[in-house]
């Protein structure tokens, strides 16, 4: 099907050799092409400068960075930001209620998981076996470090995890469980058996039309009713399963669209060669589908990271809750602004770098296809 956006591809302007380059010329073209334009530019710049100046003044010039005595007395009469709250309370924001002596483990676990995420951005790892090995290894490292019980480390149950580490754990576990689920759902939905494909379709569409928070809530409250006791597990795992299901429902549709964008001839050729269903799927269909679906997949991963923040509603002590706790004492209650900005920055770093990477991949892939 051709959509409007397919039809209207914009040809890049031809390079006619007429390039009056140089910074001045380019700036003039961008900001001061006509008198009206120049006026808008000036007003806009003035507004931006005003904003940037005040933000800088507040956040840097007039800010208090540290509190020598551990109280909020240094921030009593200042006009700027009180970053001392971060300096005093960063441990609770990052580690939550993890035992103080063991927080190095939480730190290491967090670094291991982030390293896993960064490593999986390298094309060398883009083989099913390598990628799954990497993720399983990273996840097991994380889990062992956090839970302890091995190598003489004290046992800390998931209920005591918190802060950024819990957010990262939730994300990694959700994606790790959700990805195979997504592949399974996508394949089931494409099944030639009407009953199977209809049922899967109903499940996927049902999950997709519910808000995530209702799914998490259901997982936390309904599973204890309908599952026998030996199957229930910890609350955190039930909620992770719900989270993974939600991710899988969206990701399954992305994979399915990736599969649909493969020319039919590919599968027919594989059939003609006598390949079995699993060979066709594993060797021909899925590798191409994943390649086609890479940009939306990264987009989905970015959205999913932001959505982990919803677990605070179910009562987990993730980075949002620990941020609330960080300014929730009488001592620091005025410093909500600084704490929220800090937490927002943490999210921003994760989300922005992931989405920039996605944009880079998209450019790279488009380049490869022409």
């Amino acid at each position: 099907m051709t959509t409007v956006s397919d039809v209207n591809t914009h040809p890049q302007p031809l390079n006619t050799g007429f390039q009056p380059d140089g910074l001045g010329a380019r700036l003039r073209r961008r900001y001061f092409r006509t008198p009206g334009n120049a006026m808008i530019s000036l007003v806009g710049m003035a507004a931006l400068l005003y904003l940037v100046y005040h933000a800088l003044d507040w956040a840097v010039l007039k800010a208090v960075w540290a509190s020598p005595d551990g109280t909020s007395a240094v921030c009593r009469d200042i006009a700027g930001a009180c970053w001392a709250v971060i300096q005093q309370r960063w441990r609770i924001i990052i580690f939550g209620l993890f035992p103080y002596d063991e927080q190095w483990r939480s730190m290491l676990a967090c670094i291991a998981m982030v390293a896993t995420i960064v490593l999986s951005c390298l094309p060398w790892f883009w083989k099913p076996l390598r990628l799954s090995t990497l993720w399983c290894a990273g996840f097991i490292t994380f889990y062992v470090l956090m839970r302890g019980g091995l190598f003489g480390m004290r046992v800390v149950m998931p209920a005591d995890w918190g802060g950024l580490t819990l957010t990262v754990f939730f994300y990694a576990a959700g994606v790790l469980i959700g990805m195979p689920m997504a592949v399974a759902l996508a394949l089931l939905r494409r099944s030639e058996m009407p009953l199977v494909s209809r049922m899967t379709g109903a499940l996927i569409d049902g999950v997709r039309s519910l808000p995530l928070i209702t799914i998490l809530f259901t997982a936390a409250l309904i599973f204890p009713f309908v599952l026998p006791d030996w199957l229930q597990g910890d609350k955190i795992w039930r909620v992770i399963i719900g989270f993974a299901l939600f991710f899988a429902a969206y990701q399954a549709e992305i994979i399915r669209s990736g599969i649909q964008s493969i020319p039919v001839g590919q599968e027919e050729a594989a059939k003609a060669l006598g390949l079995s269903y699993w060979h066709r799927t594993g060797r021909i269909i899925l590798p191409q589908a994943f390649r086609n679906a890479l940009p939306p997949t990264i987009n989905q991963l970015v959205i999913t990271f932001k959505e982990t923040s919803l677990i605070v509603i179910i009562g987990f002590f993730d980075i949002l809750a620990s941020g609330n706790a960080a300014y929730g004492t009488g001592e620091w209650s005025f410093a909500y602004f600084e704490v929220y900005i800090f937490v927002a920055l943490v999210y921003f770093v994760f989300v922005f770098s992931l989405s920039r990477y996605g944009a880079y991949l998209e450019r790279r892939m488009r380049f490869g296809q022409h």
Binding site: L48, M193, P194, M199, P211, I213, V226, Y340, Y347
Partner: protein, 386 residues
Amino acid sequence: MQMFRNRKTRSLAYQVAFLLILALVIFGAVHEASTKLAAQGMTSGFDFLHKSTGFRIGFSLIPFDPFESYLRMLWVGIVNTIFLGILSIVLANIIGLIIAVFRISSNGVLNDIGTLYIETFRNVPLILQALFWYAALTHLPPTRQAYSVFDSIFLSARGVFVPSLNVGGQWFAAVALALLFGLSLLAWFSMSRRFKRMKNRGVLQLGIAGLTLAVMVGILAYAREPGSDIFSVPELKGLNFRGGITIPPELSALAIATAIYGGAYIAEVIRAGFLSVGKGQVEAARALGLAPWHVFSRVHLPLAIRAVLPTLINQYVWLFKATTLGIVVGFADFFSVISVSINQSGQTLELIAILMAGFLIMNNTLSFVLNRVNKAIALKGTQLRT
């Protein structure tokens, strides 16, 4: 075994097995649930809906007091959710359109502002933004030192106080409904192909507009409390404001956060629409001597919206779902009402079923209506030009 060589038989067998396993799982779950409920001595069923709740709700569009039933409270939650959802979508759309225009404008500074906006607000979770705005709004000065705008709008930690008309809430709803109905009728008239060839279309449209206005004025005139001014302006009486409308910080925080966050997403969608409009269309409009504003409002914008409406519809449905955050700031939306009811009545299964059914119905209605709109105005066949 020879039978299973046949593809049809095999597929039938698979499906029967699939169905059996599914039935087994469902039966097991139901059995487990009923044993557990029996063990806890709980009665299932929907009778509890008629019991009185015994607690208050901070903000509700329709009146509610603690003696009323759970059913009524759920209804309050649904109305609040729909209200917040529509408000957020409309605001997000306005912001999104402005930012999209910034992003495609030929002016460098406007581009930069648009990019800065999108990259800032799209990369921070909505719930964090809602908490942030809530904290900021509740840290405004108390009512006695409230900021005032022209002595008629007041900003304080207890909420924003704005002037209103001197009529009851239900009449307000009636006026809004009349306006909505009139506007959608007008939109239908001007967009649907069914009326393209009608001769007196303009007169008819004017008639509808006039009728809507008359109905609205009529309702207001009828509903005005006798002897009072038309406008009710908030006034500081003691520790609180009297008159006007109070917008509680919970509602404003959620509406602001969703509008800003959703606006960033919608801006990108609309921008894609603008970019997909063929250059020739815009150039042709310019060549015909249309003023820049007309080129934008009559050619560029309608084509862009038509191109991205399906994506935009998905975005609206998603935004509607995203507004379900009332519980973090204490706004009584559908989800938080359900959550409170579960805590109070203990009827978990029934209430979760209501929650799911409610959201399925609301979301599917929204997407159904919008998809009909899309079908009615989508470009077809020869209308597609580059």
